[in-house]
C-alpha cells in the first residue's frame, strides 16, 4: 500500500526518478494467490487449452453421426463403449467431442463480447469521470436511458432486428452491458481524480490526457479487470440461453446450450446428453464468478488502503 502511494508520488512529482512501466498493472503477485483466483483461474486456463486444442484432443469428429451406436451411455455404465467416454447422443455423435468443441463458441463469445463491452464502457466512463462537463452529462444521460430499458426487452428486440447468429449474440451483449462498465469506471475515475497524486500531477502541469492515461487508468484497472471477469460469466450464460432457444450459431456447430436443448428432448433415453453440457456450463460460470470474486477481494482499492 505504502509502496504504491510512493510509486505514484515518484512518478508524478519527481519526474527523473526511475519509473516502472507506465501501463503495467502494479499488482502485488502475492495477493493473486487467493484460493478463489487459483481455482477459478486454473479451471479457465484448462478450458482455454481445451478450446484451442479441440481438434487435437477431441477423440471423435463432433459432427460424425453413427446411428448404430446411438445413445450409448457414458463409460462405466452398462452397455457403454469405452471409445465414447461420455457416451453418444441420439444421432450417435460423441458427447465428449461435442462438449470439447462447444467450449470454443462459449469462450469465443465470452472473451469477445465482454472485452468489447468493457472497452466501450470503460473509455466512456473514463472520459465522463475525468473531463466532466458536457461529455459527462451526455454520457450519464445516455446510460440512464439505457438502464431504464429492461435487458430482456432489448435482447429480444436486438436478436429480432439483427437476426440469429453468433455475431448478433455478441452485439446484443455488448449493446446491453457496456453500461455496467461505464457506470462503475466513471465513479471510480471521479474518486481517483480527487486524490492527492492526481492533484500533484495537475500542479506539476502534466497534460490532462497524460494524467488520465498514466496516473488514473492504472489505478482504475483493478476494478475493470474484476468487472471483465464477471461479465465473461454473464456472456457465457447469455450465449447458452440463446443457443438453447436456437437463436445463436447455426445448428451444425456444437454449443453447450444447443446440446442442453437437444438433451432436454431425450432426457429419459439419454440423460448424459443433458447432464454433460449442463455440468460444463455450471463449472464455467462458477469459475468466472470465483475469479471475479477473488479479484474483487484482492484488488479492491478500499481494502488496499
Amino acid at each position: 500500500m505504502l509502496e504504491q502511494a510512493q510509486g505514484r508520488a515518484s512518478e508524478s512529482v519527481r519526474e527523473k526518478a526511475p519509473v516502472t512501466p507506465r501501463f503495467a498493472l502494479r499488482l502485488p503477485v502475492a495477493r493473486l494467490s487467493d484460493p478463489r483466483i487459483l481455482a477459478g483461474g486454473g479451471f479457465l486456463c484448462f478450458l482455454v487449452v481445451v478450446a484451442v486444442a479441440a481438434p487435437l484432443i477431441a477423440p471423435k469428429d463432433p459432427l460424425e453421426q453413427d446411428l448404430i451406436s446411438s445413445l450409448l451411455p457414458p463409460a462405466g455404465l452398462q452397455g457403454a463403449d469405452p471409445s465414447h467416454l461420455l457416451g453418444t447422443d441420439d444421432l450417435g455423435r460423441d458427447v465428449l467431442s461435442r462438449l470439447i468443441y462447444g467450449s470454443r463458441t462459449a469462450l469465443f463469445v465470452a472473451v469477445t463480447a465482454a472485452t468489447l463491452a468493457c472497452a466501450i464502457g470503460s473509455v466512456l466512463g473514463l472520459l465522463a469521470g475525468w473531463y466532466r462537463g458536457a461529455a459527462d452529462v451526455a454520457i450519464s444521460r445516455l446510460v440512464e436511458i439505457w438502464m431504464a430499458f429492461p435487458p430482456v426487452l432489448l435482447s429480444i428486440l436486438l436478436v429480432a432486428v439483427l437476426g440469429p447468429g453468433v455475431h448478433s449474440v455478441i452485439a446484443a451483449i455488448v449493446i446491453i452491458d457496456w453500461t455496467r462498465f461505464c457506470r462503475v469506471v466513471r465513479a471510480e475515475t471521479m474518486s481517483q481524480g480527487a486524490r492527492d497524486y492526481v492533484i500533484a500531477a495537475k500542479t506539476v502541469g502534466f497534460p490532462r490526457l497524460n494524467i488520465l492515461l498514466r496516473e488514473i487508468l492504472p489505478n482504475v484497472m483493478p476494478i475493470i479487470v474484476t468487472l471483465l471477469s464477471l461479465e465473461m460469466g454473464i456472456a457465457v450464460i447469455v450465449e447458452a440461453i440463446l443457443s438453447f432457444v436456437g437463436l445463436s450459431v447455426s445448428s451444425d456447430v456444437p454449443t453447450w446450450g444447443g446440446m442442453i436443448a437437444q438433451g432436454r428432448q431425450i432426457l429419459h433415453e439419454g440423460w448424459w446428453v443433458f447432464a454433460a453440457p449442463l455440468a460444463a456450463l455450471s463449472a464455467t460460470v462458477l469459475a468466472f464468478n470465483l475469479l471475479g470474486d477473488g479479484l474483487q477481494r484482492a484488488l479492491d482499492p478500499v481494502r488496499q488502503r
Binding site: 436511458i145 431504464a148 430499458f149 429492461p150 435487458p151 430482456v152 426487452l153 429480444i156 428486440l157 436486438l158 436478436v159 429480432a160 432486428v161 440469429p164 450464460i237 447458452a240 440461453i241 438453447f244 432457444v245 436456437g246 437463436l247 442442453i260 432436454r264 432426457l267 429419459h268 440423460w271 443433458f274 447432464a275 449442463l278 456450463l281 455450471s282 460460470v285 462458477l286 464468478n289 470465483l290
Partner: protein, 336 residues
C-alpha cells in the same frame, strides 16, 4: 398533500418512460437493415407482395406520419395481427399474460419469504455457525443464474425424483373450462382443489428457479441492513427494557432495515420478470416469455412489438408500485 403531488409526478414519469420505450421500439424495428418487411416476409415473396405488405403496415408513408398512425393505434390497444398465429396481437397478449403474472408473483412471494427468513435467521444467530452456513449458502445461490437452476431442476425432478410435472401449466387431461386466464387463482377461489394442486405442482420448478437468485439477493442485503440496525440506539433501548432477541429483530430492527431491501427487490423483480422468458421456455409454460421466443424465431414483427410494450408496461408498473410502497412503508418518511 405533498405526497399526492409526488404520486402524480411519478405517474407522469412512468407514462413518459413507457412512451420512450414505444419510441425505441418504433425506431429499432424501422432501422432494420433493409426494411421491417424483410423480417416478415418469406423468401419466395414477389415484389408485389412486398409492396402490398409495405402499404398494409403504412411503411410507404413518411416516417413522422407513420409514427402518429402507430401511436394512435397503439393507444387504442391495436397492435395489428400476429403473422405466425393469425390472431389479434392484443388478444394473444391478454390470453398469455395472466400465466406469466401468476408465475412471477408466486416467485416474488417465495423469494421474499425465503430471503427475509434467511436474513432474520442469520441475524438471530449472529456470530454462530448458523449465520456462517447461511452466508456461504447465500453466496452459492447467488452465483448460479435462474437458467442453470431451471435446468438443474429438470435433471433433479425430471429424472432422479420424478414427482413433479416437467412441462406445461396444467395436466391436459383435466379438461375443465375456465372463465379467466388466471387459472391458479380461479381454481383456488372456486374451491377446485385437485385442479389447484395440479396447477401449483406445474409451477413449483419454474417458481423455484426464478425465486432462488432473488431470495439470495434479498437475504444478503437485508442481513447487512439488519446487522446495522441492531447497533442502533432504539434497539439498545429495547434491549435494556428486556425484550427478547426475536422481538428486537422483528419489531425494532426489521421495520427500519426493510427500506433498502424493498427498493432493491423492485429492481431485481424486473430481472425476475425478464427471467420468465427463458424459464417458461425450459418448462414449456404458456406465458408471454415463451411467446416472445417464438415471436423472435418466427420473426413475427407485430407480435414482438406488442410483447416489448407489454414487458415495458410491466417493468414500469412494478417500479411505480415499489416506489410508492417504499415511500409508504418508510417509518422516517411517514412520521415526518
Amino acid at each position: 398533500m405533498n405526497n399526492s403531488l409526488a404520486v402524480i409526478r411519478r405517474l407522469v414519469q412512468s407514462a413518459a418512460t413507457l412512451f420512450g420505450v414505444g419510441i425505441v421500439v418504433f425506431i429499432l424495428l424501422r432501422v432494420v437493415p433493409g426494411d421491417p418487411t424483410a423480417m416478415m416476409i418469406g423468401p419466395g415473396a414477389s415484389a408485389d407482395d412486398v409492396i402490398a405488405l409495405r402499404a398494409r403496415y403504412h411503411l410507404d408513408e413518411p416516417l413522422l406520419l407513420q409514427f402518429f398512425g402507430w401511436l394512435r393505434s397503439a393507444l387504442s390497444g391495436d397492435f395489428g395481427t400476429s403473422i405466425s398465429l393469425h390472431r389479434d396481437v392484443m388478444e394473444v397478449l391478454l390470453s398469455r399474460l395472466p400465466a406469466t403474472i401468476e408465475l412471477a408473483i408466486a416467485a416474488l412471494l417465495v423469494a421474499v419469504a425465503a430471503g427475509v427468513s434467511l436474513a432474520v435467521l442469520a441475524t438471530l444467530y449472529d456470530r454462530r455457525a448458523t449465520a456462517g452456513i447461511i452466508n456461504v449458502a447465500v453466496g452459492l445461490l447467488l452465483a448460479v443464474p435462474d437458467f442453470v437452476w431451471a435446468l438443474a431442476f429438470v435433471l433433479l425432478f425430471g429424472l432422479l425424483l420424478p414427482v413433479l410435472p416437467l412441462s406445461g401449466r396444467i395436466d391436459p387431461t383435466l379438461d375443465i373450462p375456465f372463465h379467466t386466464h388466471f387459472i391458479l387463482i380461479e381454481s383456488l377461489l372456486t374451491g377446485r382443489m385437485t385442479v389447484f394442486a395440479d396447477i401449483a405442482a406445474h409451477m413449483v420448478m419454474p417458481v423455484l428457479a426464478l425465486a432462488i437468485p432473488l431470495a439470495a439477493i434479498i437475504a444478503r442485503v437485508l442481513t447487512a441492513s439488519l446487522s446495522e440496525a441492531m447497533e442502533a440506539d432504539y434497539v439498545l433501548l429495547a434491549r435494556i427494557k428486556g425484550h427478547s432477541r426475536l422481538r428486537l429483530v422483528l419489531q425494532e430492527a426489521l421495520p427500519n432495515a426493510i427500506g433498502p431491501t424493498l427498493a432493491l427487490t423492485g429492481v431485481q423483480f424486473t430481472f425476475l420478470v425478464g427471467g420468465t422468458v427463458i424459464v417458461e421456455r425450459i418448462f414449456a409454460y404458456p406465458g408471454i416469455g415463451n411467446l416472445g421466443v417464438d415471436a423472435v424465431i418466427n420473426r413475427d414483427f407485430p407480435l414482438i412489438q406488442g410483447l416489448v410494450l407489454a414487458f415495458g408496461a410491466i417493468f414500469i408498473v412494478v417500479n411505480l408500485l415499489v416506489d410508492l410502497a417504499v415511500t409508504a412503508l418508510d417509518p422516517r418518511l411517514s412520521h415526518a
